[in-house]
């Protein structure tokens, strides 16, 4: 069991205090409140949590060592670039392209509709050519049209 302080952890990760509090509140970060605004957390679950947030290994070790120290007033300088990228909440500027995975009849139709209405499409196909299952069919009922 190690002890952490919300403010300190937030500072070290370069994120807002409330983000850390929310993690604890919704159970994402499995920490139990202790005396003096401190939280206790299992070493292992803390590592797992940091890993799931995409924090690099050496950084985790550093954080663990830091957290294990006797808690004092937060002296750690704020890192120049935040360790965890802030969650991108923008949707005001989405990307104007779509990736379609699978080049069968459904993938082709989806691609055409999107490309015809103003979006750039990447059509991904595992094989060397598109067409999928329908290209195999000889004829289609009820019109007996050639599947091509």
């Amino acid at each position: 069991m190690i002890e952490i302080r919300v403010g300190k952890l937030a500072k070290m990760l370069g994120i807002h205090r409330n983000t850390v509090r929310n993690w604890i509140k919704n159970g994402e970060l499995d920490a139990t409140p202790m005396v003096g605004k401190r939280y206790g957390i299992g070493r292992e679950s803390f590592t797992r949590f940091l890993e799931s947030k995409g924090v690099a290994k050496n950084m985790i070790l550093e954080l663990m060592a830091d957290a294990a120290k006797t808690p004092g007033p937060g002296k750690t300088a704020k890192p120049e670039t935040p360790i965890i990228q802030k969650e991108v909440r923008m949707l005001d500027k989405p990307v104007g392209s779509v990736m379609v995975v699978g080049g069968g009849i459904a993938g082709i139709q989806a691609s055409l509709d999107l490309a015809d209405s103003g979006y750039y499409v990447y059509l991904l196909e595992k094989g060397p050519g598109i067409g999928g299952g329908m290209a195999r069919l000889d004829k289609t009922f009820p019109t007996n049209d050639c599947a091509m």
Binding site: M90, K93, G107, S117, Y119, K126, D138, K139, P142
Partner: protein
Amino acid sequence: MECGRHLNIEILTLSEVVAVTGQAGAFSVTVKKNPRFIDMDKCIACGICSQKCPKKVDDEFNMGISKRKAAYIQYGQTVPLKYAIDPKTCLFTTKGKCRACEKFCPTGAINFDDKEEIQTFSVGSLILSPGYKPFDPAGIDFYGYGKIPDVVTGLEYERMLSPGGPFHGHLEKPSDHKEPKNIAWIQCVGSRSTNRCENGYCSSVCCMYAMKQALITAAHLPDGGRQTLFYMDIRSHGKEFELYYNYAKEHDIRFVRARPHTIEPGPGNTGVTMRYVTEDGRQLKEDFDMAVLSVGMEASADALDLSQKTGIELTAYNFAKTGSFTPVSSSRDGIFVSGCFKGPMNIPSSVAVASAASAEASKALISAKGTLTREKKYPAEKDLSGQPPRIGVFVCSCGSNIAGVVDVAAVVDYAKTLPYVVHAENNMFACSTDTQELLAKVIGEQNLNRIVIAACTPRTHEPLFQDTLKEAGLNGYLVEMANIRNHNSWVHQKQPEKATAKAMDQVRMAAAKVGLAFPIQELQVNVVQKALVIGGGVAGMNAALGLADQGYETMLLEKTDALGGNAWHLSTTAKNEKIRPMLEQLIQKVESHERIEILKNARLTSSTGTVGNFTSSIQIGNESREIQYGAAVLATGARESEPTEFMYGEDARIMTHLEFEKELAERKDRVQSAGSAVFIQCVGSRNTRRPYCSRVCCTHSVQNAITLKTLNPSMNVYVLYRDMRTYGTREDLYTEARRRGVVFIRYDLENPPLVAKTDGALTVKVTDPILGMPLELTTDYLILAAAIVPNETRELVELYKCAVNADGFLNEAHPKLRPVDMAVDGLFIAGLCTYPKPIDESISQAKAAVARANVILSQNVMQLDAIKSFVTDHCDGCALCLDVCPYRAITLTQHSDNGHTAKKISTDKALCKGCGLCAATCPKRGVMVHGFTTEQLRAQVYAALDLIG
């Protein structure tokens, strides 16, 4: 195919998703691109690498029946038409020797240093459509697949029938290559079974494909042969499918309700001997020349892998998990699913959900619309005035489709002798992307100004060639197609010499006509970027909401005073989701949307204009109003019919599905205390009056039967059915119902149940086909699965000139490939008005209609077809053509000239479809159609009669 030429579609072949990071609107997708070992820019698809390649491997495209080389293309019309080297089998990549292809490749395209590449793409949304895997029956030993050569799967048989397949369209037995006369199909192999596989669901497509194969086989064989289908239930639950089933029965396809349990090698080690038990308990043994296993669909390993990499949830059957109200959304925001990844489905459903997925995928990206796309710019058209025709003739081999019958080289030589023809050549596939480039090059080099394409049908391929001409600086209407495939090589397969002569005639006619062709200017229409939705049910509301979310002002027309339609009367979906809360939420969203205007008690009274620019009058109560819109979605719905049989209306205990839903909701106690309930299926459906299947009733009855058994496990619940049609994963409900003790008894159309009332007790008499004995059931409830009938649309059909089928359902433009478009451009359909369907399919269709309408509404200016009628100086205003014009595009006008008043007609270019009825009616060449002038047609006829030269 259009996709290969689209400016805004980049096809990444041999590629797989490795990881997806980021969130909806801004994903970053890591893609692994496997090496092709052939430079796509240099490959000209000449096929020499494949010829020289010494390594033969099973051709997976032909289901392993034939061989291909390690250097290969999948099939003749592959997009992109570029060869690839299969590193798993190539001698050089596996053993370090050979490199024959490299030596012989004329363009030096072979590159064995090609490496796997990892690329990252930024995209706003993802659509996953990895498809299905045909079930592999090798594990089911009693069918003998893999051991007996004449046992094949449905997909293998499909390839055997195909002209492009391993046997070039000549049907033969795999064992001795003789023609099979007597073929059996076995349905539900790898579907509806949890015994030898885990696929408890119905694959939905096999009944129809087996019937199609049986009918095509009958047409293939000189004396028709003999075809037998062994089935459990025939599931022809799609639009016009039941008619196809009836047609198959009328054409001597034999249907046997049995599940063969053993297949053994036939006498003399060819064919098969099959053992089966009929419904009445007889054990039979029968010999067939071949057995076709109608294998079902299952989730592919790729799909599983993809779901893990993209982090989306799957169902127990490994299909993508979706909700009935959000039919194309995966469990991860911004990632959508389509096609058979959602579950087994046929082509039209796949196309519809694909369009739906594209609508959903683009919804979140509207603010970025058009930011990454490019527009096509054509070079200025060359001025041809005063130039004599210089005709180029391109004769397509279509693989062996044409060249297998017609002597294409002779046709090319002949074409060179025709007047004005300055160039003629033969192409393997005229429609391939590479030939298009070649065509443009030749036009430039030879200074050609008229083109003849002797290939297939202009219906599918003319736009492609027109586009190529435009790219080469020619007007798109200077091309003429001679259909030497559909009109010739396909129908004259047995007379190659006569077919070659006919092909020459066809080319001569086309050349004569195109020599007189003149450039035609395309018409442009300014698009009114507003939409109209007719019908305020679930489909209509979803369509309106979708269109409004795409940014268009949308009017929602409802004939009654309330939104919601049939959904008010339904309790849960097949996935057991409650409908009422969804409906209330949907209505609330529609009502509060700033871009939706709801017009209740309204109906359409007139309509003029055409795609991109419609004008209509609507009547709301006593007021009349004019509206303008660029596209419309028709979602006029359907309703439950009122039964005329089984004593309906004579006793309160006899009720329809919807009435029983109400009973369940309002008088649960009474239902719970009932001792027994009987459901009768196909009431008013699948008979001579309504020859279609109402699709939803089997699932509905089974669901209610389960509800009854849950309320009161000791209740006797019977379902009297003809074919149980719980298609797709709905099959699980049927299994569940049987597990809970619901009794299913089959009856025939000729021998329906008899309902009687004696001393106040309601009894149903039916003959159980398995016991072979009549049963009498006394019941407290008799629930009739009444047919679904379309709402009245005669007025709309009249106004829009759109099409309905014999049953009154609105028709789509193409039953397979354009399931939500109507034949009238700019009109789309969704929901029950096209055919009975459950709520999730209605919503899919509505969203698909949004995507299709979006294609029109997203443009400011739209190009229209240029084939229109025009008035000549010969017109004297006799007005004969006015009556024949089906589009009301002709009006009579008066104009004065030097004091003379003369009458003359004028045509509305937007309304005219170029059908030519006016030109045919006109006695004095006063009106003609561009591209089909009297001179052109006359030249064509003279050429046919060989009167020139």
